[in-house]
């Protein structure tokens, strides 16, 4: 099945495949080695299902990862790939994406990789807005090194390296990305294949850096971290769905078929809070605008995510705006400078002879 929605702005220069593709085309011959039940399997399956739908030339897709459980991802996809070093994938991808506009460049990273050791590269990739998609697998734990607290672990968390509870305070990846001027920020859940795929689709369509935080369960070292947003019994109360153009409502369905709770802006402080829709009236509920130029509301939405053990989180696309991309501008500078240069050797000869020269006979 091809849905031929190409060309997306984000894939403007990436060639489309002539032949239809299947999931098999994207499956490498390598045995997948995550722990049984790891959320990474679900994401891999979703990506392997989504890529054939996208219909790009397979050889023009590159996955670059850092270090961590999720960073094994490229080995399992039959595209070009690089399993690089801890935290540096966004930097490596920046060089690749800038020099090769014909590639669809993906970064696979985790909470430790992207937010701890690679925090600097992440924020600068986001502010530059290089055309690539970053999948940030957030399991709120260090898995590969066997269970230390991570920069998204809740304060007080008991782990191997924090037997008395973690003294750290966690980062909120969405808030961080918005603060770093990200032009596309979304959050999704490993087990919600449909939502995950729709977010991937929007992220690849976007021109610039798309950051997708994926809540990913690590059954070995942090099982159940995201149960609130996954469990059918609690999910309605825990997931605050963000859909562009729709009022932000959640909770059990009310008479109008929408959630009985909603988000309103406090007129005095400007911050957002959860209310019972019945108390304020449906027309006062905030309508989500992912394309708002001002990121203030998107940031306020991101703050509705609890920082302790997760009980509630907005899920969906927080922000998607068009903004200048580093790589397009950098390439345009090279292109316009090269205009009229037909022969680089002659131009080089002229350069070497520029300035004050003299001749000895």
């Amino acid at each position: 099945m091809t849905s031929t929605r190409l060309p997306f702005p984000g894939l403007r220069d990436v060639p489309a495949s002539e032949a239809p593709q299947s999931r098999k085309d994207y499956t490498s011959d390598q045995e997948v080695r995550w722990c049984p039940g790891c959320g990474d399997y679900a994401v891999l399956a979703a990506v392997q299902g989504f890529l054939p739908e996208l219909g790009l030339k397979r050889e023009n897709i590159v996955f670059i990862s850092g270090i961590g459980c999720s960073s094994r991802f490229p080995y399992y996809l039959d595209t070009f790939g690089m399993h690089s070093i801890h935290g540096r994938a966004p930097a490596i991808a920046t060089g690749l994406a800038t020099s090769r506009p014909d590639l669809s460049v993906w970064v696979v990273t985790g909470d430790g990789d992207a937010l701890s050791i690679g925090g600097n590269h992440l924020i600068h990739a986001l502010r530059r807005n290089v055309n690539m998609t970053i999948l940030l697998f957030n399991n709120r734990i260090y898995g590969l090194t066997k269970g230390q607290y991570s920069p998204t672990s809740e304060s007080g968390k008991i782990t191997k390296s924090s037997p008395k509870g973690s003294p750290d305070s966690p980062l909120n990846p969405v808030s961080l990305a918005l603060g770093a001027e990200a032009s596309f920020v979304a959050r999704t859940i490993d087990s919600d294949r449909q939502h995950l795929t729709s977010v991937l689709s929007a992220a690849t369509a976007h021109r610039g850096t798309s950051l997708v935080e994926i809540y990913q369960n690590c059954p070995i070292f942090n099982d159940g971290a995201f149960d609130a947003v996954k469990n059918p019994e609690t999910k309605a109360d825990a997931v605050i769905p963000l859909v562009h153009g729709e009022p932000i409502r959640f909770g059990p369905k009310g008479e109008d078929g929408l959630g009985i709770r909603g988000i309103v802006r406090d007129p005095l402080s400007g911050s957002l809070r959860v209310v019972d829709v019945a108390d304020v009236g449906a027309d006062r509920i905030l309508v989500h605008d992912a394309h708002a130029a001002d990121p203030t509301t998107a940031f306020a939405l991101s703050r509705l995510t609890g920082s302790g053990h997760l009980t509630q989180a907005p899920i969906g696309i927080f922000r998607s705006v068009e903004r200048q991309t580093y790589d397009d501008v950098a390439r345009e500078q090279v292109r316009s400078a090269s205009e009229g240069i037909t022969d680089r050797s002659t131009a080089l000869d002229n350069l070497l002879h520029s300035g004050d020269t003299w001749t000895v006979v």
């Binding site: 920046t94 060089g95 080089l348 002879h353 004050d356 000895v360």
Partner: protein, 648 residues
Amino acid sequence: MPEAQATLATPNSTEPHRDTIHQLDRVVIRFAGDSGDGMQLTGSRFTQESAAFGNDLSTLPNFPAEIRAPQGTLPGVSSFQVHFADHNVLTPGDAPGVLVAMNPAALKANLADLAAGATIIVDTHDFTSRALKRIGYEENPLEDGTLDAYSVHAFDLTGLTVEAVKDFGLTRKDAARAKNMFALGLLSWMYSRPVESTLTFLERRFASSPQIRDANIAALKTGWNFGETTEAFAVKFEVKPAPMAPGTYRNITGNTALAYGLIAGSTQSGLPLFLGSYPITPASDILHELSKHKQFGVTTFQAEDEIAGVGAALGASFGGALGVTTTSGPGIALKAETIGLAVMLELPMVVVNVQRGGPSTGLPTKTEQADLLQAMFGRNGESPLPIIAPQSPADCFDAAVEAARIAVTYRTPVMLLSDGMLANGSEPWRIPELADLPRIDPDFATSPNHVNADGGPEFWPYLRDEQTLARPWALPGTAGLEHRIGGLEKADGHGNISYDPANHDHMVRIRQAKVERVAESLPPLQVDDPHGDAKLLVLGWGSTYGPIGAAVREVRDQGYAVAQAHLRHLNPFPKDLGTLLKRYEKVLVPEMNLGQLSLLLRAKYLVDVAGYNQVRGLPLRASELADAILQLVEPAGSGQNLTKESIG
């Protein structure tokens, strides 16, 4: 010390008369002033004039790490030294025969370096008791006999400049700023330099502010006329042009030559150049230069940090660019892990280290060559990479082309070790014919190179070329060659992750063997042993080429035989190096470190080389090195031991 003495034909001859022109064979001048006084510009214009006149020359700028250290202080002194001659010049000169001091601090900071009896031209304007006290002069050195041994021309240069430009309506401060051009005019007169190119330069530089342009031109001319009309300067000097090989020349600094060489490496290979770099002294000028030349398909990425600079370069290399990163020692420390990844991925990349004084932040604006062992071993695991070094500012061009050749041909990161002296120093450069540069063939993989068990085609990213041991470079976008690489150990051939002990041992050895294969492509070492009877070989690398050459020349002038060789390739060493070392009874290795090349030579060849080592942040002094060489060539019994300072 003939190098120093040749400059001593000072202008205080007994009976000065107008229009006397003394012929000199060489002169070393140092322009010194406050860092805001424009001494670098003055020095480089004087250099340009000398180059245009046809002298051979070598320059050494020396400036503080601070952009504007407090005015009138010793740390704020900035200087520019130029050595020009009627013969081949190898170094910027040990001891200046002429000092131009624009303030008391410039005088104090440089006095100890001068040759005996040197000429000092000094601006008296700031010699107030307060200014003198500030830098620790209790008495005025112009009056208390401090300078009796020198030939001093002291006058209010600032005052004369302000007077000369008073008609241009500048503020007093702006008017005084033209004093460097007054000094340049005077020195240009003294040494019979043509000033036309400086006039054109000023017209262009200040085209948008005519007042400042006119004031600078007036100051330059007034300085010239001051020399001509003032009794004090009765004698002018001339240094005849030096014989040079036919060709077109320009003066060039090491950083500019290096940037041009990288562009040439890109055009010769047909690969777009991608520079990932983070600003750092003294390497930033390469970033600046390359960012001006996007017309060659050059992309310059100013990264968020050193790690991102090299990471982006490696990412670009993966995509088929000539990935380059430029930095100095502290930056290499940060890039080490990514360079290790490049070793593992076996992708081409050029890593430029413009060495400066270390460790840590060290001496950012001073020179040193103490990063050789860092280049060799500064990564985890067995992580070999080719290392090359330029020997002079202009040679940075060829070294950069060579780095690109090795990187692309052998699919490996290559470390290019320049240093602060090469980076900012300059010399005349005979512009090469592009046809003489090596062609570099990226030889991209275009089709599968292996057959799988079912007889179908497949691509093995680690199936090596038998000759070079290089692996195929398959670019994303090439159908059928999809593959994954990474920092985990790979099985040779198919390239899948492998934890097999035998495979790891094999891969460690093959990465080493691949680097050693580079030696197969190197020409034999050039040894300069005029009569073939020398017992001592002086072997160097990098920027010590000039001082070593000058010292060897001096020793030969005294009638002793000594051989000289210089290494461009530090890893792998040229294949004939071992034999060469064993051919000489003694080997002396001068370095601006505590004996890093010595260590490598001793380890590899079991040869008892002696070191001559100084780590002063400055180039080796040729005359001192000559003394050390003389101790080794003099008949036995007269002192086999090196001086304390020279034991490495």
